[in-house]
C-alpha cells in the first residue's frame, strides 16, 4: 500500500509503527502503574514459573510417578507404599488410600493442568477470534444471531456447560486431555468472540479503512492489522483470567467425576478421592492438591488483575502515582505563621476571602507540578473579581482550593481565610461546614455534577438540612423552589431527575444550589459557558443582585472578556500558575501593564481557543517551569535578566499590580532606555 496519499494515512501508518515503538508504548503503563500493581504481577509470575518448573522438571527429578504404588528397593524386589501414611521423609506429602505418593500426584497433576489449560485456552481463542472476525465482518442478521447465541452461552453456568459437553463428548472420545480441554475451552469462546467482534465492527466504519481501500489496499490486511493491535491489548487479561478459571473448571469436573480417566493424577479428582479421608480426620490427601490449585489460580489471577489495573486507564490514573511533591521550603512556612497573626487583625467584616501564597500541587505520572504557585489576593464582600487566563493555567485548581477540594494526590498550601477560618489548615469538619454555606463552588462541567439517581429536590433538601438541621423538609423545598425561580427554572420541575434537564438548565440548577444558602463567597467556574445570551445575562444580573444586596463576594472564572467588562469590579490575570496582573477592570482594559495582559486584551477573539492570535507559542510545562519569568518564551519585550529570577507583583498604578521587570519594583532594575508599553493595547500595540 502506498502511504503518500493525503488524509487518513496517518492512522494507517500508526498501525504499521515498528514493533519496538509499540513495545515501548505497551510498557509505558507499567512504568506509570503503582508499585502495588507491579508487585502483584511479578509475584504472580514468580509462582507461575515455579509451577512450570514443577510440571516439567518435577517428573524428571522426583523418584516416584503419580500412579506408582511401590518402589524397587533392590533389583527385582519391590516394597509397596503404605496406605494413607502421613507426611514423612519417605513420602513428603504422605500417601493416599490407593497407596499413591501425594507429591508425585501433585507433580503429574501440574503437568496435566498445564496441558489442559493451554489446549483449552487455545481452543477458545482460535474459535472465538475466528467467529468474532467473521461475525463482525459480515454484520447483518447473521451477526445478530451469533451475538445472541454467544450471549446465551456466556450467561449459562460455565461448570454446568462443561459437564454437559464432557458428558456428550464421552460418547465419542475416551476421557483424557483433549476431551477435558474441549469441555473447559468451550466455556470461554464468547469472551474472545465479543472483544474481536466489537473491534472488527467498529473498525469497519473507520475512515482510514475507507481511505486505505480507496488507494487499493487489501482491506482485509488493514482490518486484520488494526483489529490485531487493538485486541492484543485486551486479550492478555482475558487469557490469563481464563487460564486461571480453566484450572478451576478442570478440577471441578474432576471432583464431580467427569474429568480425565481415573486414576490419572488430577487435582480435583484427587480431592474427590479424599472426601472419606476427611471424615476420618486425615488431612494430607485433601490439603495438598487443593493448595496447588489455590496457588496456581491465585498466581494467574494476580497477573491478570495486575495487567488489567495497568491497562485500564481508569484504574491507573491515580493521584498517588509518581514522585511526591516536595514539601514547602522552610522560609515560606515561617512566613505563613507570621501572616496568620496579621490576618487576624486585618480580617474584619470587609473581606469575603483572603488568599495568601496559595499553592496547589498534583502528583502526576510524569512528575509533581504546582498548578497554582504562590498566589495572593483578597476579595471584598460585595465585590466581583474576575479570574482570567489561558486554559490550564490553574483557574479551576484555585477555585477548588478555596474549598480545599482536592483530588487524590493533590495538595494545598498557603492560606485561604474565610470569615476567620483558614480553609487550608482548619479541621475537616469545619471546612465541611464552610462548604456550601460559607463558600460555594459552581463547577465548570454542569453535565456531570448532579447525582443522576437523585431528584433535583433531593440535592437541595439534603444540602439545606445538612447545614441547617432544624429546617423542615417542606421549608427546604420552599427555599429550593425560590432558588430555582431565581435562576429561571420553573419550580414545578423540582422533582425531575438531572437527565431530564438540558446542559444549560443543569448549570442553572448548579447555580441555584450554590446560592440557596447565601454564602459569603461564590466561586463561579465558567458559569455561563453552556448558556445562550439571554440566560447568560439573567444569570449575570442575578449574581450582580447577590453581590449588591447580599454582600456576596464573587470569584468569577471565565474566558469571556466581554462578560468581565460587564460584570466584574476587578480582574486577576493568571499565567502558568501565577497571577501576573491584577487591577480594576477599567485599568485592565484600557491600560494593562503586563505584556501577557496586553496580549489578552489585544486579541479580540475569545480565549476559548488554545492559541491566541496575538501571542504566539504555548504556556510552559508546569512540571519543569522556567526559572525566571514564565512568560519569557512568548514575551515581545523579553530582556536578558527576565530568565534569571521570577518577577514579583509590584504596584504599577492605583490598586493595580503587575509582575514584570518592565516596571520598577519587580525585583530587577529596569535597564536604561527600556520603555514599558502603555495605553490601550488594541490601539497602541502590545
Amino acid at each position: 500500500m502506498t502511504s503518500t496519499s493525503t488524509g487518513g494515512d496517518n492512522a494507517v501508518l500508526e498501525a504499521r509503527t515498528p514493533l519496538k515503538t509499540r513495545l515501548h508504548h505497551a510498557w509505558r503503563p507499567f512504568r506509570e502503574s503503582s508499585r502495588i500493581s507491579r508487585g502483584l504481577i511479578f509475584s504472580g509470575l514468580g509462582i507461575i514459573a515455579a509451577f512450570i518448573a514443577l510440571a516439567f522438571i518435577g517428573p524428571l527429578v522426583y523418584p516416584y510417578g503419580g500412579t506408582q504404588y511401590r518402589a524397587e528397593t533392590s533389583p527385582g524386589e519391590f516394597t509397596t507404599f503404605p496406605e494413607l501414611a502421613p507426611p514423612s521423609a519417605e513420602h513428603w506429602f504422605g500417601t493416599t488410600k490407593d497407596q499413591f505418593d501425594v507429591l508425585a500426584r501433585i507433580i503429574d497433576g501440574a503437568t496435566l493442568a498445564f496441558a489442559v489449560m493451554a489446549l483449552a485456552v487455545s481452543i477458545a481463542m482460535v474459535v472465538g477470534v475466528t467467529l468474532g472476525l467473521f461475525s463482525g465482518y459480515r454484520g447483518g442478521r447473521l451477526d445478530r444471531i451469533m451475538v445472541t447465541a454467544m450471549d446465551a452461552v456466556y450467561a449459562f453456568p460455565p461448570l454446568v456447560l462443561a459437564i454437559i459437553v464432557s458428558f456428550v463428548l464421552a460418547a465419542y472420545l475416551s476421557p483424557g486431555v483433549p476431551s477435558a480441554a474441549a469441555a473447559v475451552g468451550l466455556v470461554y469462546i464468547p469472551q474472545y468472540f465479543r472483544v474481536v467482534r466489537n473491534h472488527t465492527l467498529s473498525v469497519k466504519e473507520e475512515p482510514f479503512v475507507e481511505a486505505a481501500r480507496s488507494f487499493g489496499a487489501r482491506n482485509r490486511t488493514v482490518l486484520g492489522r488494526y483489529v490485531f493491535f487493538n485486541v492484543v491489548q485486551t486479550v492478555p487479561v482475558i487469557l490469563t483470567l481464563n487460564a486461571a478459571d480453566a484450572i478451576l473448571v478442570l478440577a471441578s469436573l474432576g471432583f464431580l467425576g467427569y474429568g480425565v480417566q481415573p486414576p490419572t493424577p488430577e487435582w480435583g479428582y484427587d480431592i474427590s478421592q479424599a472426601v472419606n479421608d476427611v471424615a476420618a480426620g486425615i488431612w494430607w490427601t485433601a490439603l495438598w492438591p487443593g493448595l496447588a490449585i489455590v496457588l496456581l489460580v491465585m498466581a494467574l489471577t494476580l497477573v491478570g488483575e495486575g495487567l488489567n489495573d495497568v491497562i485500564n486507564p481508569l484504574l491507573r490514573a491515580r493521584g498517588k502515582a509518581g514522585r511526591k511533591i516536595k514539601a514547602m521550603p522552610m522560609a515560606r512556612r515561617r512566613d505563613r505563621s507570621q501572616r496568620r497573626s496579621d490576618a487576624a487583625e486585618q480580617d474584619g467584616e470587609g473581606l469575603a476571602v483572603k488568599v495568601r501564597d496559595l499553592r496547589v500541587g498534583y502528583r502526576t505520572a510524569s512528575g509533581p507540578l504546582w498548578a497554582v504557585d504562590g498566589v495572593s489576593f483578597d476579595i471584598k464582600r460585595g465585590e466581583t473579581v474576575a479570574l482570567v487566563g489561558e486554559s490550564g493555567c490553574g483557574k479551576s485548581s484555585m477555585g477548588r482550593a478555596m474549598l480545599r477540594l482536592m483530588p487524590p494526590g493533590g495538595v494545598v498550601h498557603g492560606q485561604v481565610d474565610v470569615d476567620g477560618t483558614d480553609v487550608v489548615t482548619a479541621p475537616g469538619s469545619e471546612v465541611r461546614k464552610l462548604r456550601g454555606e460559607g463558600v460555594s463552588l459552581m463547577f465548570q462541567e454542569p453535565m456531570t455534577r448532579l447525582n443522576p439517581l437523585e431528584r433535583v429536590s433531593d440535592h437541595f433538601v439534603e444540602m439545606i438540612r445538612t447545614h441547617k438541621p432544624k429546617t423542615a423538609r417542606e421549608q427546604a423545598r420552599a427555599l429550593a423552589r425560590d432558588a430555582l425561580v431565581q435562576v429561571g427554572i420553573p419550580p414545578t420541575r423540582i422533582d425531575n431527575y438531572p437527565h431530564e434537564f438540558s446542559g444549560g438548565m443543569r448549570q442553572r440548577v448548579m447555580l441555584a444550589l450554590s446560592i440557596v444558602l447565601t454564602p459569603r463567597l461564590i466561586v463561579a467556574d465558567e458559569p455561563t459557558t453552556a448558556l445562550d445570551v439571554i440566560v447568560e445575562s439573567q444569570i449575570l444580573s442575578l449574581l450582580e443582585r447577590l453581590r449588591a444586596e447580599e454582600n456576596v463576594g464573587i470569584l468569577f472564572i471565565t474566558h469571556n472578556l466581554g462578560v468581565v467588562a460587564e460584570a466584574c469590579d476587578r480582574v486577576a490575570v493568571m499565567y502558568a500558575g501565577k497571577i501576573v496582573e491584577m487591577g480594576p477592570v477599567d485599568e485592565i482594559f484600557t491600560n494593562p501593564k503586563h505584556p501577557y495582559t496586553r496580549g489578552l486584551v489585544a486579541s479580540t477573539i475569545s480565549l476559548n481557543t488554545t492559541e491566541l492570535r496575538s501571542i504566539g507559542g504555548y504556556p510552559p510545562n508546569l512540571i519543569d517551569p522556567p526559572k525566571g519569568c514564565r512568560f519569557a518564551a512568548r514575551c515581545p519585550h523579553v530582556m536578558d535578566h527576565c530568565t534569571d529570577t521570577p518577577p514579583e507583583l509590584t504596584e504599577v498604578g492605583p490598586d493595580q499590580r503587575a509582575a514584570c521587570f518592565l516596571y520598577p519594583g519587580a525585583g530587577q532594575p529596569v535597564p536604561e532606555g527600556v520603555v514599558a508599553p502603555s495605553g490601550d493595547p488594541q490601539v497602541s500595540g502590545i
Partner: protein, 338 residues
C-alpha cells in the same frame, strides 16, 4: 410519565428475552442430541429386554424425526413441561419442586454472607485505596476466588465437624429433626410451625455450606464493589456533593455507593451463572439434597431426558433472572427507562 416509561421499558426487555430463550434452548437441544444413540438405550441398554426399550422409545417420541422432536421439546419447554426422566418415576417438574427449595435456601443464605462481606470489605477497600486494608482485601478476594469451593468445604468439614465437632458436615436437617414440610424451605417451615428445636438443627446444617459458598461469592463481590467504588468516588458529582458540604458518610453512601450499586447489581446478575455452578459443587461436597445434586445424579446415571429437562429449567431461570435484574436497574436508575 414515570409509570408509562417504566412499563414500556419492561415490555422492551421482555421482547429482547424471547430470542435469547429461543436460541438458548435450541443450543441445548442440539448439544444434548449431538451424542449418538438414544437416551433410553444409553440409560437402560442391557438392563431391559430390547422390546421394552423399543416400546419406551416409541412412548417418548424418540423415533420421530429430529425436527419433530425439536418442536415438541420447544413447545413443551415453553409451556412448562420439562419431560420425564428415564430413571425416575417423577416428572422433571416434580423433581424441581422437590429439590429446588433446598437449593434456593442454600443460595439465599450464601448470598447474604457474600453481600455482607463483599459490600463492606469492597466499599472500604475502594475508599482506603492502596492502604494495607485495601491490599489485604484484594488479596483475600483473589485467594478466596482461587480456592475451589469443594476444597474449602472439605477443609471446613475437617476443622469444624471432625476436629471441633461443632457443626454437622453433611445433608440438610433430616428425619425427626426436620420441620414439618410446608414450603420446603426448612428455615421458613420451622419458623411457621414455631419449632425452635428444628430451627436450630436446620441452621446448624446450613451454616457450613452457606458460609463456604458465600465466602467464594463474597470474594467476587469484593473485587466488583471495590472497582465500582473507585470509579464513582472519582466522579464529578461526588466531588460536587463534597463541595456542598455534605457529611462524608452521606457522600459515600448516598452518592458514591448508591450509584456504584447499579453496575454491581448488573454484574451480580451475570454472576448468577457462577452461583449455580458453585452450588453444584457445594451441594455435592455437603451432600445437600438440592436441584444441582439431582442434576449431578442424573448425569451420573446418563439419564439424558432428566438432564435435558433440568438444564432447560435452569436456562429459563437464568433468562428470568437477567430480566429481573434489568427491571430492577430500570426501577433504580431513572436514566435507563428512556
Amino acid at each position: 410519565m414515570k409509570a408509562g416509561s417504566l412499563g414500556r421499558y419492561i415490555a422492551q426487555r421482555l421482547l429482547l428475552a424471547i430470542p435469547m430463550v429461543f436460541i438458548l434452548l435450541t443450543l441445548l437441544f442440539l448439544l444434548l442430541n449431538a451424542a449418538p444413540g438414544d437416551p433410553v438405550t444409553a440409560t437402560l441398554g442391557g438392563r431391559l429386554p430390547p422390546e421394552e426399550i423399543a416400546q419406551r422409545k416409541e412412548a417418548l417420541g424418540l423415533n420421530d424425526p429430529l425436527y419433530v422432536q425439536y418442536f415438541n421439546y420447544m413447545g413443551n419447554a415453553l409451556t412448562g413441561d420439562f419431560g420425564n426422566p428415564i430413571t425416575d418415576p417423577r416428572s422433571v417438574v416434580q423433581i424441581v419442586l422437590d429439590t429446588a427449595p433446598a437449593t434456593i435456601e442454600l443460595a439465599i443464605a450464601a448470598m447474604l454472607v457474600a453481600i455482607l462481606l463483599g459490600i463492606t470489605v469492597g466499599a472500604l477497600s475502594g475508599r482506603l485505596r492502596d492502604t494495607p486494608f485495601d491490599v489485604g482485601g484484594r488479596l483475600f478476594g483473589i485467594l478466596i476466588y482461587a480456592a475451589p469451593v469443594f476444597w474449602t468445604g472439605l477443609l471446613a468439614q475437617l476443622y469444624f465437624s471432625v476436629e471441633l465437632g461443632w457443626l454437622p458436615s453433611q445433608q440438610r436437617a433430616g428425619g425427626f429433626d426436620a420441620p414439618d414440610p410446608i414450603t420446603g424451605f426448612y428455615v421458613l417451615d420451622s419458623i411457621i410451625t414455631g419449632d425452635m428445636a428444628a430451627l436450630g438443627t436446620v441452621l446448624s446444617h446450613l451454616v457450613l455450606p452457606a458460609v463456604t459458598l458465600g465466602l467464594l461469592l463474597g470474594g467476587v463481590f469484593i473485587r466488583l464493589v471495590r472497582v465500582n467504588m473507585l470509579q464513582t468516588l472519582r466522579s464529578d458529582y461526588v466531588e460536587a456533593a463534597r463541595a456542598r458540604g455534605l457529611r462524608e458518610h452521606v457522600v459515600l453512601f448516598r452518592h458514591a455507593f448508591k450509584t456504584a450499586l447499579i453496575p454491581i447489581i448488573t454484574i451480580m446478575g451475570l454472576q448468577f451463572a457462577m452461583l449455580i455452578g458453585n452450588a453444584v459443587l457445594t451441594e455435592h461436597t455437603f451432600t445437600w439434597p438440592g436441584l444441582a445434586q439431582a442434576l449431578v445424579g442424573f448425569i451420573g446415571a446418563r439419564d439424558y431426558a432428566a438432564v435435558q429437562g433440568i438444564v432447560t429449567f435452569i436456562a429459563l431461570v437464568i433468562v428470568g433472572v437477567s430480566l429481573l435484574i434489568d427491571i430492577f436497574t430500570g426501577l433504580v436508575d431513572p436514566r435507563v427507562r428512556y
